[in-house]
Symmetry: D2
Subunit: 364 residues, 4 copies
């Protein structure tokens, strides 16, 4: 996943290096390791950015960014060439004035204090590098990854908001893109809308849980010991802003089952076994079993709230802060496309690795 | 964390490469990147291996391994030299006969099928490379890591077994090493003993949750975006055998709080702020805040159970398996020293990285 | 040096990822791992790009590129923040028409055939990714590296052109930037001008040897076995377009000396020993000794010549090619700033690594 | 090549981590990333170790080491499993008494001073980690690499000793293994024997140049920009003890040719073009062209000589040293199998990478 010291690079074989601050002139990324001869244009990427784009409902930040992506390299006559693909998005709606107080006062739950503690300097405008704005490039890179591992189908949605879970019996994949919450349960979506309105009224925020299911992952992708597919997913998801927990398959619930309940019995099937259940979430020993890969990610409530919170300023003196900028009352909503993008990146990476790991073509 | 393609290597600056199968002649690791002039001998490592060693109570596998570690390189006249440290442990009590059926029959929940799907070959004896035996080397390497980041204190324990959590009010750190479960709540330890006896009688197994608290981690360790301290911990912990979930701080519970409840208010303190709470678990933006770093890891119940489970054999034909070998009825128990070792490895690595990241001594 | 699979990334701790093709809209790089609080602006980088810029004398390509660099991230209020620094240069003078024949005919000595053999597709315009244009970003990144390892002084020059070496007795560092050849021997520079004019008249090209001397490198930088300072330099230099050989210290000449002649005797000195000679070129066991680090790099004559050469086209049919585009008759000349930049990048990287390797501050 | 911070690890996909000191109990390595289902036993490795083994003629060190290798993991029932392969060789003939003076006195040309400058401690016995003894593990790992890239044939030999080159017209590959110098020119071998006897008599040493030719490397292996095949070879070769220079193809001689002389004209051929010459040494743009890959490596004369040399001791005081231990009067001789092993490791690595780089099987 993370290679060497490049803390802004993600992936082994398909490597994404992102750059840019919330209020700089632009953000961008370099996608290195994309195989050649794949048809690619901005039109393959833009729809995923649009799905993540802010300001699409009253439940997300009112910052208005077109987030129009440009490809600056790595594509020739509509096809990838195997050379690095440079993507850039200009920052348009910056409104630096909203953020002046952050220059001196640390927002609890934000990276402000930690960045100063580490670097002794930070671009405070809109959170600078620590802003979720960076995740736009993960989504853009994820769109390229999808073209590499096209046999995989991804379904990603909110399964819980503000502690209110969806009704699994009412799960309707068609519903996911027909409400403001990527919610597969229309009834839950209605409840959540009310909860969000109330939270916003209170100047408060809510947490959420995102679930991602990858079907069509061939048995054998992934690798043992320190690069387990589960571990790659865990690092990728825990690296998303505001994420605090990751589960594979039954996750913490598995710790409450007995071995006899948790066993995914196998029966003879077509290709590979026919599994009676999927408590494991599609992996064993860190390697894909051919079952759907299932991951869940917990997002804390947005730290930027209007409710005043006690804090300190950069001189260490007592202070209070209530964030008046434009923020997502629930970062979990817009995290849905980001979680899906990270899963896409991991699976494309694993696909490219797998044949090398097993020495495919050694005999050839 | 994971660098490049070496799927058996862990760490950036302090790099641990493990090798060996459960029933091979030996297991071992190479610890590269340990700074020079640190006093080190087998006596610094052995106690941690002893804490993990099987067969210490009726609640863990009866496999008897002395797990005596030898240092083969990297230490001269009792001090590290900066060259790679090679550690080896001979496999003594192998009992291959216990495992013959695994050659042809896939154990549900184990890596058997996945390894065959990937590699087309596997050392089936005791799970081969996928056996938890490999974690002995993580514990050995962790002992070296502790000497590097000696300012950090680690407390690790089971906080839940078979769905039965400890009583936080009864938390007693002294108790942890005085029962068979690394349990800080003596009353819970008694209940767990009964649950384990019953599960063992039923030929079944139980899951558990391990919690690790690192105090003394200086604000500033860790790095943003793709190497967040949270993400490094998540990958490390999710890479431990049988782990299915990882939380930092409040984890999934944070997704059920409002922003106003989840905020860790700051007040002026001594060095660094005085935090009113630690919902975040010691990190912000992926960087340590100086608060205790808190991680929780969910372990599924042992997949090897005496209760028969439907499965298939390597020819794809229907089969049944009930594991009669010597196994831990709850792998979570012996995972405690492993979780602590992984945390030690991450923090030592981050300590070595931090000064390079911030260019310490640039002016010097 | 190279980490993992990112074949467009250079460095360990200070990592540079370049992107862009000769005739795309722009070229750029991301510099990750630069320490915070270093004063940086375009003005620190532009002079080095200007030194490499084409079209400055009749002896280099007449392509006219302003090569104006822009910083898009990682710098706030004139100082680095520790986040990735994105640099971009627009391609202005592209003249694609010059290059049409390259679409179908392979230029001997160029990457045309090899790229097609590997990728089955290539951006043929001006050599696409394989163009020396990419080296502009190495020079830009090198300018940042210089600010990190400011204790080091670099002197780089042509020591041989077309087989005609400089007279070491006439070595004048002041002369280097006062002729068209970065030549420290004014008399040689005059001879070379005549040789170049003749070669150009003949539609031919010449090779050259670049020498780089780094003084002020502290003893201890570098690391043993597979990351020897010599090896890092060798990979960096051999990775520059048209480079075919690298020497450290006496290089191949050392293979012709006896051990008694080659020994660099030591006498008591101020800090560190006083060396009687520097046959070793500043390293021992891959680690800097405190003496000047000396590297030499051989550059083949430009492959693009007007003289017709037999070749094949992409269909495999017989063809002839004589390059009529604008090219450097001697790529070695403009390689001088590139060699120096690579040395700067290696030394800054080693400086950042050194304190982590030796655990500086372990006791602190 | 080198990944991340593991300075004792070599390779991307096929990764070799070596450990051990000259006079420790053993030396060893871990080979990670070897594909599964390759027949492997000690018998595949031992012959290459025997070729490198000291004490085989009067022209190499009289240290007597059986260098018997053992495989401790990664092989099951005679086949590789895809898990790490651990190799170990016990150190038998250590004779520490030979080396006592090295504890306090720095040997010019050796790593003694540099290791102390970096680490403040070193295992002085026989050079500790900096001893060429480490290269035994490169040879052992190289034997595994050969089985991965079996389509490649390697021919490696001394082409120059003590400044006396072979006669290319007299080149006889059959002769290489029938003299004490891996020399393809029997007449040169006789001259060299006399030169060596004289140097030994004088208590002096000689340098040499090793040439390695790899035929059968498919066009397309290798990768552009920072991982050029040439650059990978350069780092690998410059990382071998006592190496001071590396050339690909014509190397420095190419810098003395005109473009028209240096061009490797292409004509229609069978698979791939028919090249009229191979000045480039089998690569273009860092990618293999299908021609033989040709590398040359310069080795300085052994630094350990009986002739007294002025030096300092660890207190900085004046001293004199003349090495009386058992040493190779020309390290270049025993470097031949090491150069070949490094080439084998690079090519196996590139083979595994290539299919992933080009996304082989993307459509599958």
């Amino acid at each position: 996943m993370l290679c060497g010291m490049s803390f802004n690079t993600f992936g082994h074989m398909l490597r994404v290096t992102t750059w840019g601050e919330s209020h700089g002139p632009a953000i961008g990324c370099v996608v290195d390791g994309c195989p050649p001869r794949i048809a690619l244009s901005e039109a393959d990427i833009q729809p995923f950015l649009d799905a993540r784009r802010p300001g699409q409902s009253r439940h997300t930040t009112q910052r208005r960014e077109p987030d129009a992506v440009r490809i600056l390299s790595g594509v020739f006559e509509g096809k990838t060439t195997g050379t690095p693909i440079s993507l850039v998005i200009e920052n348009v709606d910056q409104r630096s004035k909203d953020y002046s107080k952050q220059a001196t006062t640390y927002r609890p739950g934000h990276a402000d204090y930690a960045y100063d503690a580490k670097y002794g300097i930070r671009d405070h405008r809109g959170g600078g590098r620590s802003s979720a704005r960076e995740t736009a490039m993960r989504v853009a890179a994820g769109a390229i990854a999808r073209k590499i591992s096209s046999e995989v189908e991804l379904t990603t949605y909110l399964c819980e908001l503000g502690g209110d879970p969806i009704d699994r019996a009412a799960f309707d994949p068609q519903a996911i893109n027909h409400n403001d919450f990527f919610c597969p349960d229309p009834a839950a979506a209605e409840r959540w809308a009310a909860m969000m309105d109330e939270a916003r009224r209170d100047g408060d925020s809510l947490g959420a849980v995102v679930e991602c299911v990858a079907t069509g992952v061939p048995a054998g992708w992934g690798a043992p010991v320190y690069a387990k597919l589960d571990a790659e997913i865990a690092q990728a998801m825990m690296g998303i802003n505001a994420s605090k927990g990751v589960e594979i398959g039954d996750g913490f619930a598995a710790a409450r089952l007995r071995g006899s309940e948790n066993a995914d019995a196998m029966r003879p099937g077509g290709e590979g076994p026919d599994f009676a259940s999927n408590h494991a979430g599609g992996t064993a020993g860190g390697i894909a079993t051919g079952q759907p890969v299932v991951a869940r990610v917990a997002f804390k409530p947005t730290s930027s709230i209007r409710t005043p919170v006690a804090t300190i300023d950069s001189s260490g003196a007592e202070a209070q802060i209530s964030t008046t900028g434009r923020h997502d009352p629930c970062v979990g909503i817009r995290a849905v496309p980001v979680v899906e993008a990270m899963m896409a990146l991991i699976l494309a990476d694993q696909k490219l690795l797998h044949r090398a790991q097993v020495g495919a073509g050694l005999g050839e």
